[in-house]
Structures are given as structure tokens and as C-alpha cells.
């Protein structure tokens, strides 16, 4: 029997979380070290999965399947393909950096890390799931700890409101998607006589075109709510702002990908004809999100709100890539999920470092950060360049094919959506200039200290990924393409 590497990755965080809960509360350092050890272990394994994935063989690899409730056709079935392997890696990176950034949490670190790790297990689980029921199971596991993490450790002014809003939005979305999933389950039973939630089986279920067209929207949008698709995005900036730093990183970096990924895996891949039927609607919503998100971000004075809305804009690009349903666009969407994940995690990390020191996130009240924390400043600048889609960084590698993919379908959408590039450049450059380079306000003088070595390791880790992929797209693009080929096969093309 081969080493069940995916299961180990999925369950490492939750086991570590339980272990941490057994520690006496006051032994905070032991808690942190255990957390870091678990996160490092998960990161190394996800790197291992990423680099040992066989590109020539493609398809689903590292599969494990066990019966769970055979009578209902529910199983435990995990595996990764070219689409999900980068996201597993992304989760590993964000988890590792998230732990490093949260080192300084003094308020009940034991429970904090435990919940954070339950969340991480849920996320890993969704990305690795090949069983629809199991996917929902992990999906809810990922969403629920968010509520506690925000409500307990969040920003005191809005945390209860934001936690409630976020949880309600996501639960409503997932319930709608679940209804769609049950409809698929029963219809597949009628069509094939097999009761199964296994997605590889459901792909073969021959859903009728009417069925697909009818159920695609609830399933896709049910999940896409978590991906922050316009007009269901407005839980997301509130959630980002209220969440503590590491949770914001998880939230924007990974959770939003969960929505986009599930919408792709369940919506587009199981209901391909439905996707073709409704792609115009997704494209419209996505294009609006891209431009509108950028405009709103431009108007923000709170750094976290700015990044939150920029996430709406960038996740809009992911949706835009998905809506093209062609190879170029889907590839771009896959890379953008990773690129945006590391980039926005970095943004929230640096914003958190600034907030911890200055106790404000209002851009007009900040300044001169580069003189005291140059390392964080350079990190933020690199993140900004990724965000702007500057060539040489991963953002360009992702955005360029997305726009190209749109050209194949609707040239004018590409032209309209490209406006966001300029707006993004404007707000990012303005933010960098104001927060990092103008003279520091007097009331902050002397209170700001440099970031510590753990923060630097975290920043360096994500920067390496962003620059590495930017200079050598072949590190990621061929892998995503194998995943895309699989999607295209379901869509009936190529």
C-alpha cells in the first residue's frame, strides 16, 4: 500500500489542532511551536505532492478511496489533478505563513490555532475531494470556524456583525448548492441505476440538457458566493476587515478559492452543458466584479477594505477565466487562483503588521513605514506589482491568458475589463506611496518597530512563489493545463 499522502495532509491540521487543545492554557510557546511544526509538515507534504505530480500521466493522482456509507453511495475519495494540486500547495503556504504571522497572538492562542487548523483541514479536504458529499462535509468544516475566529479574535468594532453576515451568506449559498447536489444525485440514480456521490461517477451520469441548464445556476452561484462573485460579494470585504490577520489571510487567500474551485468542480465539471448555457451570465457578473471591485477599492481609505475590494476584483478575474470555458482562459483562472492567493495573503499579512504597530489602518493616518520596516515594505511592493499584473510577476502570468481567453469569446468584455488594470495600478501605487514613503505622522514617530524574523520568513516565502512563477511560468502553467484538459474533455471540446 502506498503512503496515503493526501489523507495525511488533510488530517494533519485537525489532529494537530486537537493535540494543541490538550496543552495547558498557559504554555503558549509550546502551543505555537506545535502549530508551526504541524504547518511546516503540511507545507512540505503539499510541496511534495506538487512536485511529484506526474505531468505526463495527468488525471487524478494520489487517489485513495474507501467506503463510508455504501448504502447511500457515500465514500471517502481523495485525489488531485492539475487544477487542485496548486491549490493544495497554496493552502500549505498560507497555513505556514499564517502561523508565523500569528506568533504574537496573546489572547487564547491555544484555541485560536485549534480553530485555524480545523479550518485548514476543511480547506485541504475540499481541494482534495472527489466525492460530492465529502466535499460538502469539508466545505462546512471550513466555513464554520470562520465564525468563531472572527467573532472572538476579530476587530472589536465590527466582528459580530461581520461574522454573522459572512456565515449566513455562506450557509445560504451552500444550502442552495446542496439542493442542486442532491438533485444531481437522484437524477444520476435514475439515469444510471447507481447511487453514488462520487464525482467521477457523476461525470458519467448523462444529465439531460434541460436538467443541466436548470440546476447549473443554483449550484454555481451557491458556491461562487464564497468566491465573492458580484452581486453576492458584499459579505467578503466586511469579513476581511473584521478578521484577525491570519484569518484574513486564510479567508482571502484560500477560502475564496474554495468557492471558485467548488463552483468549477461541481458546477462546471458536473454540469458542463449548463455551464455553456449560462456562461454569458457568469461572464457579465465577473466583468462587473472586475471593474466595479477595482473602483470601490480605489475609493477606500481603510487598507483592509481596499484589499478586500481588490480581492473582489481579482476573484472576478478568476470567474472571468472560468466563464470563457476555453483552454487559455481556464488556465489563466487556475494560475490566478494561486497567484491571488499568495498575493493577498501577503497584503493582509503586511497590513496586519502595520495595524499591530500603528493601531490604525486608515491610509491618511499612516506614513513612512518603509523607513522602519523596509522588509515589509518591499514585500508589499512586490505584492502590489503582482496585483497590478506587472510582467515578471505571477499576476501577469495569470491575467494575460484570462484576457486572451475572453478574446476568443467576447472581445468587448476583454476591452472593458482591462480598465481595471489602470485603476488597480492607481490605487496600489497610491497606497504604497502614502503608507510607506511619505513622512511618518508625528504621533506614530518612535512607536513603530521593525517586523521580526518570523514575519520576514513569511514574507520571503510568498515573494519567492510570486517571482518564481512570474519568471518561469513553466513551474505552474503546464500542470494547470493538464487539469484544464480534463475540464475541456467534459465540455466536449479538445
Amino acid at each position: 500500500m502506498t503512503f496515503p499522502i493526501l489523507s495525511v495532509i488533510v488530517f494533519t491540521p485537525i489532529v494537530a489542532g486537537m493535540l494543541i487543545l490538550l496543552f495547558p492554557e498557559e504554555r503558549k510557546d509550546e502551543v505555537r511551536v506545535t502549530a508551526l511544526a504541524a504547518a511546516t509538515f503540511a507545507l512540505l507534504l503539499s510541496v511534495w505532492v506538487y512536485f511529484t505530480y506526474d505531468l505526463d500521466a495527468a488525471g487524478y493522482q494520489f487517489q485513495e478511496a474507501y467506503n463510508w456509507l455504501p448504502a447511500l453511495g457515500i465514500g471517502y475519495h481523495v485525489g488531485v489533478d492539475g487544477m487542485s494540486a496548486p491549490l493544495i500547495l497554496l493552502t500549505g503556504v498560507v497555513m505556514f505563513t499564517g502561523v508565523l504571522i500569528s506568533w504574537g497572538i496573546e489572547d487564547r492562542p491555544r484555541e485560536f490555532f485549534a480553530f485555524l487548523f480545523i479550518l485548514a483541514s476543511g480547506v485541504f479536504g475540499v481541494f482534495a475531494s472527489l466525492d460530492l458529499f465529502q466535499l460538502f462535509f469539508f466545505y462546512e468544516i471550513a466555513v464554520f470556524p470562520m465564525y468563531l475566529l472572527i467573532a472572538i479574535w476579530g476587530w472589536i468594532r465590527t466582528r459580530e456583525y461581520a461574522a454573522m453576515k459572512l456565515t449566513l451568506y455562506l450557509f445560504v449559498g451552500s444550502v442552495i448548492a446542496l439542493v442542486g447536489a442532491l438533485a444531481m444525485y437522484w437524477t444520476a440514480y435514475q439515469n444510471t441505476g447507481v447511487l453514488s456521490f462520487d464525482m467521477l461517477q457523476l461525470e458519467q451520469a448523462n444529465f439531460s440538457e434541460q436538467f443541466q441548464a436548470a440546476w447549473f445556476l443554483p449550484v454555481f452561484f451557491g458556491f461562487a458566493v464564497l468566491g465573492g462573485i458580484w452581486p453576492f460579494h458584499n459579505w467578503s470585504p466586511d469579513g476581511h476587515v473584521a478578521a484577525p490577520t491570519a484569518v484574513s489571510m486564510f479567508h482571502a487567500g484560500v477560502l475564496m478559492k474554495l468557492g471558485a474551485f467548488a463552483a468549477l468542480r461541481v458546477g462546471i465539471m458536473l454540469l458542463p452543458q449548463g455551464a455553456q448555457h449560462w456562461s454569458w451570465l457568469i461572464m457579465t457578473c465577473a466583468a462587473i466584479a472586475v471593474v466595479y471591485g477595482a473602483f470601490i477599492a480605489f475609493m477606500q481609505e481603510d487598507m483592509k477594505y481596499m484589499i478586500g475590494f481588490s480581492s473582489v476584483s481579482h476573484m472576478g478575474l478568476v470567474m472571468l477565466g472560468l466563464s470563457t470555458l476555453n483552454k487559455t482562459g481556464l488556465t489563466g483562472a487556475g494560475v490566478q487562483m494561486f497567484s491571488h492567493g499568495v498575493m493577498t495573503a501577503l497584503f493582509f499579512a503586511v497590513t496586519g503588521m502595520i495595524y499591530d504597530r500603528a493601531h490604525t489602518r486608515q491610509i491618511p493616518e499612516l506614513g513612512g513605514m518603509n523607513t522602519v520596516m523596509p522588509f515589509a515594505g518591499i514585500g508589499f511592493i512586490i505584492g502590489g506589482l503582482v496585483s497590478m499584473g506587472m510582467p515578471g510577476f505571477s499576476g501577469f502570468i495569470a491575467e494575460f491568458p484570462i484576457f486572451m481567453g475572453v478574446w476568443y469569446v467576447q472581445p468587448w468584455v476583454a476591452i472593458v475589463a482591462s480598465i481595471s488594470i489602470i485603476i488597480t495600478a492607481a490605487y496600489i501605487m497610491r497606497n504604497i506611496r502614502d503608507v510607506f514613503f511619505r513622512p511618518m505622522p508625528e504621533n506614530l514617530e518612535g512607536h513603530i518597530t521593525d517586523v521580526n524574523v518570523l514575519d520576514k520568513i513569511a514574507i520571503l516565502t510568498v515573494c519567492l512563489f510570486m517571482i518564481g512563477i512570474g519568471l518561469f511560468p513553466s513551474l505552474m502553467v503546464p500542470m494547470v493545463q493538464t487539469g484544464v484538459d480534463n475540464i475541456l474533455r467534459l465540455l466536449g471540446g479538445a
Partner: protein, 514 residues
């Protein structure tokens, strides 16, 4: 040696980045070490481009020293490098001006490490544009050069730098947006970004494959043509897209202005020559009149604008608009003559193009020199206001002599380089665009006026006693600064007296590509 031969272009392209990486690992406080590493590191690309120049086959057709590496296979884009006479000239200009600019920056004491690294990355960005034979790679380096320049202006610039740097960034990115979209359209339509392939495919394309047709192909080509033109016109800059330039040039640190005027503006003109003319010959011909109009406007308004300045640096900045106008005029003449059967036109447009390309090189030399000289005096007096100077010649005779020499090159005095190229442009454009060329002579007249005004206000007239005595006493140009000017002045004179060595190379490109 074989390795160097086979990878000459990629070595030239990536050595600056390598040097920057070395500097990254040097200790922050070793300012001297950092400066010298940067300078010596930037001399390697210069040496290699001189080697390139001697190896360049004057009888060869097409692109030489080609190299091709995998880059973004999913989009069929490769790192395809190659030079012809045009890019070779520009590469030489870039690798020549960068060490001089670095030498000119030895006075910088604030965050030297970051400054030098940005400068070297900037050099890589510019070289990449000149060497690229792949449209996507072209765009990558085109945008990449923006970032270091933005930070150089924003961090080491003078008082109004925030405004100027953001304006520079947004203008250029806004201009490039159309270029980005047009490049994507080409890539989608033909499944390749390779320039030599696109040269064959795009001008003759009669239908857009892979793209839902919603406009006739001719309209699409026209729109894409203007998207390209606007991107490059912003960079050149052609009137009315020039307003970012005086701000950026004025606020940038001295060496930044040298590179900005010396090389960055050439990127725009290079884009016209490398992409617009070969990819859109018919559209270029249709709109050659409009281009010539813009060029003439740039020549005249640039000269007037320059004459109206009281800030020495702004005066020099506007003169760039004026001089680059001649480049565009030459390009417009070549565009107008495309496919013409008129014998006189056929004989004239290569002359105009030769002039335009030589003017790019010449303006690179003289503008970099002028900005440096402005920087020299600014460093000593902390003012650029022309009214604050006056009668400085007796105080700084050597500086005065150098200033007059460089100004004369800029003015177009026969015997110096500016005359050769401007004469070629005018001679070549005259039969094709007679009216515009005639009108642009007004601009040439005012070139003389503003140059003489600058010299007069600084060097002649009653001496401003403020600079003559005491703590404000003006000191003479020092040896390092003369060392910066010496190669520029030597080349200015050399090309002015005997331009054949460089025109041979340029003419090769003109005959082969246009």
C-alpha cells in the same frame, strides 16, 4: 569564448540584473563598494555590445545573433532575441548611457544600494525591449522598465516628485493598455507572438481567426494601429501626449533624467519602427499625414514651450519634445512612401529613416549631456531658475565651454551630430511631406532661440554676485563630472564629423526592414 559568442544577447540582457543581485548581497553601508560594483557591472554589457558591434555582419539580412528559449509555452511565447542595425544602435546607446548615468550618480548618498539596483533593473528593462523578437516579451520588458523609473523619480526626485511619478506611471500604463489589448488580439488570432512570423501574417491577414467577428478586418486593423500608435506616442512623446514629460524629467534625479531622455523616449520611437511600420504598413500610410501633423506640432510646440520656461531643467525637457518630433517626422515620411511608385519618394524615404534613427541616437547623447549639465549646476546652487543665474562663464569657464558645446549639438550646429541627423530627416521628408517639413522649420528656428536663451541666462549677461563669493561660491565642474561628459562629447563630435561608421549599420536596417 564559444559560450559568449552563442549567448551574446542574453548576456547583455541579463548581466545588469545579475549585477543588481550581487549588489543586493553587499552590506548597506559600503557605499563606495556598491557604487563601484554597479559601475563596473554596467561596463560589461557595454564591452559586450561593442563586441556585438564589431561582429555585426554589415551584409547580412534579417536579424542576427538570434537566440530562442522556452518561456510561456501555453501562450506560444518564447524568449526570442535578435538584433538588426536599428536595435544594435539602440543597445549601444543604452549600454553606453547607463554606466555614465551611474557615474553621474556617485553623488547620491541616500539609500545607494536600492538606487543602484533599480538603475540596473531599468537597464535590463530597456535592453529587453530593444532585443525582443517576441511581442509578449517586448511587452513584458516594456512594462518592466516602468517600475524602477517610477521609484527612481518617486524616491530620489525633487519637490514635486509624487505628482510627477504617478503621472508618469498612469500615463504610460494607460497608453500601454491599448497596446496590451492589441497584442492579445494578435496572439489570439495567430496563436503566436513571434515577431518575424507576425510580420508575414498580420499585414496580409484577411480574416481574424478565433475571434468573433463584429467589425470588418480593416476597421479592426485601424483600431489596433491606433492602439499601438497611442502607446508609443505617449512614450516618444508626441504632442498632445507629452504633458507627463516635463514633470517627470524635471522631478527625476539627474541620472534618472539622463536615462529618461536618453533612452526611455527612444523606446517609443523604436516601437514605431519595430512594430507599427512593419505590422501596419497600409494603415501607417493612410494616417501618415496625421502622424506628420503631430510630429510638426511637437516640433513647434516643443520649441515654443521650451522657450517659455524659466526652469533650466524644464527648458531641456521641452527640448526633448522638439527633437523627438523630428524622429516622428522621419517615420511619418517613410510611412507615407510605403508602396509608392514615385521614384523620388522611393529614393527619399530611406534617407528620412536613416535620419530618424540617427536622431534617436544623437538625441540620446545630447539630451543625456544637457540633463547632466543641468544637474551639475543644480547640485551646486540648489536652484534651476534661469533668473537666478547669469554671467557665470568667468566663474566656471570649463563648465561653460562644455555647456556651450553640448548646447550647440542640440541646436544642430554643422560639424556636430545633431546637424547630420536633422538634415537627413529634413532632406528625406521634403519631397514626401513638403508642407509639414516646411512648417517644422519654424520649430528649428526656435530651437536656436531657446538654446541661446538658456546659454545666455546661465553664462552671459551681468554676473549674479551671489555665486561669486563666500559660501555660495560656484565651484568648477570636477574630474568625475568631466569623465561623464567626455565620452558623450567625443561621440557628438565624431558623428558630426564622420558619421559613416554608424550610418552604415543603421542603413543596413533601413534597407533590410523597410
Amino acid at each position: 569564448m564559444d559560450f559568449i559568442n552563442d549567448h551574446l544577447l542574453s548576456l547583455i540582457l541579463f548581466l545588469p540584473a545579475l549585477t543588481a543581485l550581487v549588489i543586493f548581497f553587499l552590506p548597506q553601508d559600503e557605499v563606495k563598494l556598491i557604487r563601484w560594483t554597479a559601475l563596473i557591472g554596467s561596463l560589461f554589457p557595454l564591452a559586450l555590445s561593442l563586441l556585438l558591434w564589431t561582429r555585426f555582419n554589415l551584409n547580412g539580412f534579417g536579424f542576427q545573433f538570434q537566440e530562442q528559449y522556452k518561456w510561456y509555452e501555453a501562450l506560444h511565447s518564447t524568449l526570442h532575441l535578435g538584433v538588426d542595425g536599428l536595435s544594435l544602435t539602440m543597445v549601444l546607446l543604452t549600454t553606453l548611457l547607463t554606466p555614465l548615468a551611474i557615474l553621474a550618480s556617485f553623488g547620491i548618498t541616500d539609500r545607494v544600494k536600492a538606487y543602484m539596483m533599480l538603475f540596473l533593473f531599468l537597464e535590463m528593462g530597456m535592453l529587453g525591449v530593444f532585443l525582443a523578437l517576441d511581442l509578449l516579451i517586448f511587452f513584458v520588458f516594456w512594462e518592466l522598465g516602468l517600475v524602477p523609473m517610477y521609484f527612481l523619480i518617486n524616491q530620489w526626485g525633487s519637490a514635486n516628485r509624487n505628482y510627477a511619478s504617478l503621472k508618469f506611471m498612469i500615463y504610460t500604463m494607460g497608453g500601454s493598455l491599448g497596446l496590451l489589448l492589441a497584442i492579445q488580439m494578435l496572439g489570439v488570432a495567430f496563436g503566436t507572438y513571434d515577431l518575424p512570423r507576425l510580420y508575414e501574417l498580420w499585414p496580409t491577414a484577411s480574416a481574424l481567426n478565433n475571434i468573433p467577428a463584429w467589425l470588418p478586418i480593416e476597421k479592426v486593423k485601424t483600431i489596433a494601429f491606433w492602439a499601438f500608435v497611442v502607446a508609443f506616442a505617449v512614450k516618444v512623446p508626441v504632442w498632445p501626449f507629452h504633458t507627463w514629460l516635463p514633470d517627470a524629467h524635471t522631478e527625476a534625479p539627474t541620472a534618472g533624467s539622463m536615462i529618461l531622455a536618453g533612452v526611455l523616449l527612444k523606446l517609443g520611437a523604436y516601437g514605431f519602427l519595430r512594430l507599427v511600420l512593419p505590422l501596419y504598413p497600409e494603415q501607417a500610410q493612410t494616417f501618415a499625414g496625421a502622424l506628420a501633423f503631430l510630429a510638426t506640432a511637437a516640433i513647434i510646440f516643443g520649441a515654443f514651450g521650451s522657450y517659455g520656461q524659466t526652469d533650466f531643467k524644464r527648458l531641456v525637457a521641452y527640448s526633448s519634445v522638439n527633437h523627438m518630433g523630428f524622429v516622428v517626422l522621419g517615420i511619418a515620411a517613410a510611412a507615407a512612401a510605403y508602396g509608392s511608385s514615385n521614384e523620388v519618394w522611393k529614393a527619399s524615404y530611406p534617407i528620412a529613416l536613416n535620419g530618424a534613427i540617427l536622431q534617436m541616437f544623437n538625441h540620446g547623447l545630447s539630451a543625456a549631456g544637457m540633463f547632466f549639465l543641468v544637474g551639475v549646476i543644480y547640485e551646486r546652487t540648489h536652484t534651476r531658475n534661469l533668473n537666478d543665474f547669469g554671467g557665470l562663464f568667468p566663474l566656471v569657464p570649463v563648465y561653460g565651454g562644455i555647456l556651450i558645446f553640448t548646447s550647440m549639438a542640440s541646436l544642430g550646429l554643422p560639424g556636430l551630430n545633431g546637424f547630420v541627423s536633422e538634415f537627413l530627416v529634413v532632406r528625406g521628408s521634403w519631397p514626401i511631406l513638403t508642407l509639414y517639413t516646411a512648417i517644422s522649420m519654424i520649430g528649428l528656428l526656435f530651437t536656436g532661440a531657446y538654446i541661446l536663451k538658456g546659454i545666455k541666462q546661465v553664462l552671459h549677461g551681468p554676473m549674479n554676485e551671489h555665486w561669486a563669493h563666500g559660501e555660495h561660491k560656484l565651484t568648477e565642474i570636477n574630474a568625475r563630472e568631466i569623465l561623464v561628459m567626455a565620452p558623450l562629447m567625443a561621440l557628438i563630435l565624431w558623428i558630426g564629423v564622420w558619421p559613416v561608421w554608424i550610418l552604415d549599420v543603421i542603413n543596413r536596417a533601413v534597407l533590410a526592414s523597410f
